[in-house]
């Protein structure tokens, strides 16, 4: 072994803790990089699986190829799979966009993987002569095709199968085609079904006889280059890549590129933290060896040799860290994926799963990223080493540069904190440069933590805001229907569904009243000066009876009159929600104008009662009036213009039976004749929470590891600085400093350090928090709020960690034999 390597190893084993902590830091950095790459790969793979299940496993499609062209395909060796759907004919449509409906042959095996059809009604074709229609087929037919029907279609061979040409010539195909329509394919495939299509069952023999095909290809290796090579002879307009193809790494433009870039940004963040740590570790071990280095240079070690020594040290630590780092990255991600998969499956409604996807190029990338990190981290220490002069080590370099001005402490420090505080202050000043790197990396990780905490805080709020608009689990909307008996019956049926705990109906007829004055000042600011949004609202019987009881009214008293809810909520400029009274002097009647398809119409409603409180179950979410009426009156008025009515059936379900309840409600809705929609709030909330949880796991995991790296860094620098000062500590004790004072001094040093750290981090953290809020409010409305809890946690953690390390590090100096400590040569 040569002397340089020997020296490196010796010094590494002498500075055991520093070396150890530095290696731990390298391992963490590498693990985090590995994790990020694996996560990026896993995510891309997840979506690739998902897209393959939804849209098929093909990468390239060609809309029209002849049998001959397919036979003479120039790059067949690049293919993993080829799918042919023969064109069987077409019939013209009365539409400019989709000039005909196409009949495509398909083999059952291709329906599974390559062109996955999902039967939304009926089933998929299983035998010869069976076919499914795509959803749009019937919208182009005067006479809809029924499922189960056997139908003979007149079909033609168009002169051109391109969809958008109108000057086609049609060659009738004799005898047409007779098919049994067994179902409807519900999923919208981006290809080949972008027009109305009838998929007809084919046997392999039938496909082999085909002349013209829609063809799809799955490549062995997917990249921009391979796609270009494969398609080089084709005309641009005839082929395209599938959405699946964009989920490959080598394919630019697309999700994989985005995910990879994002991962790279994070890798750079990790690298920065890693560089901070490793560099600091080296600097420490070098400064502890100044004397030795200067002796080495005085006996004739050249600059290059010293440089090589420092780099060797870095290289050795890297080599030790590499396997552990990569392995722990794999292990950690394996665990993360186990947790994430069920959530992601629920969230994206897919059978796809997160798995460890790796290849040698990826591992190589990680290795290189790690090596670059370590090398960058060694440059400064190596330079400093190679510049060590024989003299520099004899006197401690840093001590030489001390000046009284640098160490000046403000007078109040000593007054307030005594001698110990003064000493602590001076020490921080002395170590300013040494601590700078540590400080920056700590500030960096603290800000990162605070920003992520804010982000999560806001996402939580956003989710809550979105959900607070209703405490209901399911909302069913009916449109364009008067509130008549059939609707009431339907609502009753829905309330009776098993699993529905509670339900009520809110029926609103939207209109406006002329502004007759009497509004509160705030309202006047908020609304259009000439008209006041005024809606007529009614509820189901049970709910209405409750309200009547609350108001102390009878049904008879309400007949022909309205109860004015003189109260509304609105969103203030700062995006917080406020409440306000509407009329200062409520009117005795209101004339409301409703919009109608056959011209506007008016209705005058007398007001029998005014409530100044929001109704618990209903409140206007904009400045305006709500007039509550009994259902009969509502029905009568809304009959004039049902297009202004929205009926909301709000349901609260029992959690355990929520899913069945939603299914049953959907079933009930499929039987009605008017428009309806169902909004499963609970499912929305659940997937939103899942998404937030996933983000939380990832972000906090990431922030934690970065924080750990910084922690290792601060541990190293504090320990070394304390180590370096042992002699000085012994002198203080020898002159008569008691342990109590000593502890005080160390404590002050920790506080000052923490203070410095927080003075930087908290404003920056708040700044990023505010920026994030500003950015997010463009998407979701919410008030600005500081995640105080996280700021407190961060502060407490920082102070405790500093105290802990400082205490640990000064233990020996505090307890050890003064004389032994004094005799220590700083080396």
């Amino acid at each position: 072994m040569n002397i340089i390597r020997q020296l490196s190893i010796k010094s590494m084993s002498r500075n055991k803790t520093t070396t150890f902590v530095t290696i731990i830091g390298i391992i963490m950095s590498l693990a985090l990089m590995t994790g990020l790459f694996l996560f990026a790969n896993g995510l891309i793979d997840f979506f690739r699986q998902d897209v393959a299940v939804r849209d098929g496993d093909l990468h390239i499609h060609h809309q029209l190829m002849s049998a001959a062209e397919l036979e003479t395909l120039s790059h067949r060796d690049m293919l993993e799979k080829e799918v042919r759907l023969p064109y069987l004919g077409a019939y013209p449509n009365d539409s400019e966009h989709f000039v005909y409906t196409v009949l495509l042959g398909i083999q059952p095996s291709d329906m599974e993987q390559s062109v996955p059809l999902r039967a939304s009604r009926g089933r998929l074709p299983e035998a010869e002569g069976e076919a499914v229609i795509s959803q749009s087929v019937n919208s182009f037919r005067d006479e809809p095709i029924e499922i189960g029907q056997t139908i003979t279609l007149d079909i033609y061979q168009p002169s051109n199968y391109y969809i958008h040409e109108t000057d086609n010539q049609y060659e009738p195909i004799p005898g047409g085609i007779t098919l049994t329509i067994v179902g409807e394919a519900g999923n919208r495939l981006p290809y080949p079904m972008n027009g109305p299509t009838i998929f007809v069952h084919q046997t392999p023999e039938q496909v082999a006889e085909g002349e013209l095909f829609w063809a799809g290809f799955r490549l062995k290796d997917v990249s921009d280059a391979s796609i270009e090579t494969f398609t080089e002879d084709w005309e641009m307009a005839n082929w395209g890549t599938t959405s699946l193809a964009t989920y490959y790494q080598g394919v630019s433009s697309g999700l994989s590129f985005f995910v990879k870039s994002f991962a790279m940004v994070l890798v750079v963040i990790v690298a920065i933290a890693g560089i901070g740590l490793i560099q600091n570790g080296f600097l420490i071990s070098l400064s502890q060896r100044m004397q030795e280095l200067s002796i080495l240079s005085s006996v004739g070690m050249t600059r290059r040799q010293k440089w090589r020594m420092a780099v060797t040290e870095g290289g050795l630590m890297y080599l030790i860290g590499l396997p552990f780092g990569i392995l722990s990255g794999f292990l950690a991600m394996w665990i993360v994926f186990q947790v994430l998969t069920p959530m992601m499956q629920r969230l994206f409604d897919t059978p796809a799963f997160m798995r460890l996807v790796w290849d040698w190029p990826t591992l190589l990338q990680i290795g290189v990223a790690g090596l670059v990190t370590v090398l960058i981290a060694t440059i400064v220490p190596a330079l400093r080493t190679s510049h060590t002069t024989p003299l520099a080590g004899v006197k401690q370099q840093e001590e030489i540069t001390l000046t009284p001005k640098k160490l000046k402490s403000p007078g109040f420090i000593r007054k307030l904190f005594g001698m110990e505080g003064d000493l602590a202050w001076k020490n921080l000043q002395r170590n300013k440069r040494k601590y700078r790197g540590t400080l920056v990396s700590l500030i960096f990780s603290l800000v990162l933590y605070l920003s992520l905490a804010s982000l999560m805080h806001y996402s939580d709020i956003a989710n809550q805001v979105a959900m607070s608009q209703g405490r209901d689990d399911v909302i069913v909307y009916f449109y364009n229907t008067p509130f008549d008996q059939s609707v009431r019956d339907k609502a009753r049926d829905i309330f009776a569904v098993d699993g529905v705990r509670e339900g009520y109906a809110i029926n609103t007829l939207y209109g406006t009243a002329d502004n007759q004055g009497g509004l509160t000042a705030k309202t006047q600011e908020l609304i259009n000066p000439t008209e006041v949004p005024t809606d007529i609202v009614t509820f189901d019987e049970a709910t209405l009876n409750q309200l009547l009881e609350q108001w102390g009214m009878t049904r008879a008293e309400m007949s022909g009159k309205a109860v004015l809810v003189n109260h509304y909520r609105y969103q203030a400029e700062d995006r917080s929600y406020q409440q306000e009274k509407l009329y200062q002097q409520p009117p005795t009647e209101l004339t409301i104008t409703f919009w109608g398809q056959n011209g506007d119409w008016e209705q005058t409603v007398p007001i029998g009662h005014v409530v100044d409180q929001p109704l618990e179950i209903y409140d206007a979410w904009y400045p305006g009036a709500s007039l509550i009426m009994i259902p009969e009156d509502f029905e009568q008025i809304s009959a004039n213009g049902p297009e202004n009515v929205i009926i909301e059936i709000r349901l609260m379900t029992e959690p355990a039976r929520h899913v069945q309840a939603v299914e049953e409600v959907s079933e009930l809705l499929s039987q009605i004749t008017f428009s309806a929609a169902i909004n499963d709030q609970r499912a929305n909330q659940r997937s939103m929470s899942d998404l937030i949880l996933i983000a939380k796991i990832l972000f906090f995991g990431f922030a934690t590891v970065i924080a750990l790296i910084s922690l290792a860094n601060i541990y190293n620098s504090l320990m070394s600085s304390l180590q370096f000062r042992r002699q000085e500590f012994a002198m203080l004790r020898s002159v008569g400093m008691e342990e109590k004072s000593f502890r005080r001094m160390i404590r002050f040093e920790s506080y000052f350090y923490a203070l410095k750290l927080l003075i930087w981090s908290i404003p920056i953290g708040l700044g990023t928090s505010y920026l994030m809020h500003w950015y997010l409010t463009r998407v979701v409305d919410m008030a600005f709020g500081i995640p105080i809890r996280h700021f407190v946690i961060a502060t407490v953690i920082v102070i405790s960690i500093l105290l802990l390390i400082m205490n640990l590090g000064s233990r020996q100096a505090r307890k050890g034999n003064i004389l032994d400590e004094l005799k220590l040569h700083v080396s």
């Binding site: 030489i400 001698m419 002395r430 002198m731 002159v735 008569g736 008691e738 034999n817 004094l822």
Partner: protein, 227 residues
């Protein structure tokens, strides 16, 4: 009156074959106001004795009384307080705190005790040490002799019961050495300060009132200097 009493003091390092008796059953006493020089060959146990008297090391056996107090009976903290009030220690090397300036280094025992200092007394001490225009300097900006004068000043500032100096002139030329000794002599004469000094320099030893000679961890000679 005896300000210092050393009784059967021993300090052993190592065990068995490697046993070193750095100090071997030493007993003697020193009167208040005495000026004692300890001489002896290198490795004879001078520094060891001095550290034990100063309360910065633990003896293997034996006792040290200062002003009648058995110092090794004291708790750690009380021993620290004892050191800052009753002992002025000057080491062979490394005496000053690098981040404190000359003034602060001088006043350190007082500052640790939260004591106000008599400014007049301080000024005259500084003048005597010749450090008037160096008060704001840091140790790294001082010469070796100046640094040593600061440590002497620090040892004297609290008027301790006893000042212990381990070769305070070790690294200095003879002129600077004379100056240091003069300082110690002055304080011995003016304030009746008890001083124990270790030295290799015969001429310095001769300026003391009493000379103890050590060899192999024992005091082999104890003589009064006649002038």
């Amino acid at each position: 009156m005896n300000i210092l009493e050393v009784k059967n003091l021993s300090k052993h390092y190592g065990q068995g074959e490697t046993l070193v008796k750095a100090l071997d059953d030493v007993s003697f006493s020193i009167e208040k106001g005495d000026f004692v020089a300890i001489i002896g060959p290198s490795g004879s146990g001078k520094s060891t004795l001095m550290h034990l008297i100063g309360g910065v090391d633990q003896p293997t056996s034996g006792k040290v009384f200062i002003d009648g107090q058995d110092i090794y009976q004291l708790s750690e903290d009380n021993l620290a307080i004892f050191r800052r009030r009753q002992v002025g220690l000057i080491y062979q090397f490394y005496n000053l705190i690098p981040i404190l300036n000359v003034e602060e280094n001088l006043k350190l025992p007082l500052l640790l005790d939260r004591q106000k200092i008599d400014q007049g007394q301080f000024q005259s001490l500084v003048e005597q040490l010749g450090l008037t225009d160096r008060l704001n300097h840091l140790p790294n900006q001082l010469s070796g002799g100046q640094q040593q004068r600061v440590s002497i000043g620090r040892a004297l500032i609290y008027s301790p019961a006893i000042v212990l100096a381990d070769e305070p002139t070790g690294n200095l030329d003879s002129e600077a050495s004379q100056e240091i000794i003069r300082l110690l002599e002055d304080s011995n004469q003016k304030y009746n300060q008890t001083i124990v000094i270790i030295t290799h320099d015969e001429r310095i030893a001769m300026r003391a009132k009493r000379v103890l000679t050590m060899k192999d961890g024992q005091v082999v000679r104890d003589e009064r200097v006649r002038r």
